[in-house]
């Protein structure tokens, strides 16, 4: 996957725990505070980021092992690019998944584009692009 060429505006790194999903979700509310992003767009961003972070917490690391959840956000003109990444083995089919498997389809439906892959350090990442106004979508 091609790394972002610009330095992110927000970089967050925290333990991949369920409680910390709320920390990330709340942080993204700052977009509404700082840029008056439309409520529906902000809601889509928060939901998609929450889903991606939930996938990290549930699937990235074996039970009993705590790893890192990293979230990077970059403003690019009228777009927001959010990368959620982890040190897990990658995204693939999981027959024993405790979830309904709706996370990724939901993310796809809420974003302008999604890329799944690995970064230059072999970390698993979900790269999501969102429009920041309905005019730019």
């Amino acid at each position: 996957m091609t790394p972002a060429t610009t330095t992110p505006d927000i970089e967050l790194a925290l333990p991949a725990r369920a409680a910390n999903i709320a920390v990330v979700r709340h942080a993204f509310g700052a977009l509404g505070e700082a840029f008056a992003v439309e409520e529906q767009i902000l809601s889509n961003i928060r939901l998609a980021v929450t889903e991606a972070c939930t996938n990290v917490v549930v699937h990235a690391y074996p039970d009993g092992q705590e790893g890192l959840l990293e979230v990077l956000a970059t403003l690019q003109e009228e777009k927001l690019v959010v990368v959620v990444r982890d040190g897990g083995p990658g995204i693939g089919p999981r027959p024993d998944s405790p979830g309904l498997g709706l996370g990724l389809p939901l993310i796809v439906s809420l974003t302008e584009s999604v890329q799944l892959g690995r970064d230059e350090d072999e970390r698993t990442e979900v790269r999501m692009t969102f429009p920041l106004s309905s005019a730019s979508s």
Partner: protein, 138 residues
């Protein structure tokens, strides 16, 4: 009916690393992350309020002393308090940031609201020194 007071265990240690570009997002993101971490750590309201004022002061003054347009924050809580580290500051940036937080007639906001405050040398790639603030609540 009688009730037995519940003795809750201190919240588990949590830590968040944040690196924020100077700009309109920095203040709101810092405040939101710190407030959520503190709420999860069962921080009482008066100390949460103090921490929010500290965050406001840090986000207002730290951009002027940033090394390369970004400021790094490390937030660590153990259920008894929070340690907030501010890094990626320019030469003497930590001392200057501290001095900037003085408000006429009030005093220095960072000194008054934190329980402990110090400047530590740092050997990280982007930072020579860090401003370290502690707020205790447990």
């Amino acid at each position: 009916m009688t009730s037995t007071p519940v003795q809750s265990e201190p919240a588990a240690e949590n830590s968040v690393s944040l690196r924020l570009a100077n700009g309109p997002l920095a203040g709101p993101v810092l405040s939101r992350v710190v407030s959520m971490v503190l709420v999860r750590a069962d921080c009482p309201m008066n100390r949460l309020d103090d921490a929010m004022i500290l965050c406001d002061a840090l986000s207002a003054h730290s951009p002027a002393h940033a090394n390369d347009g970004h400021v790094a924050f490390a937030v660590v809580t153990d259920g008894r308090g929070i340690e907030l580290r501010v890094g990626e500051l320019s030469e003497q940036g930590a001392a200057k940031l501290l001095a900037d937080a003085a408000v006429p007639g009030v005093g220095n906001v960072l000194e008054r609201l934190s329980d402990e405050l110090r400047i530590e040398s740092s050997s990280t790639e982007h930072s020579r020194e860090e401003l370290v603030l502690t707020v205790r609540f447990g």
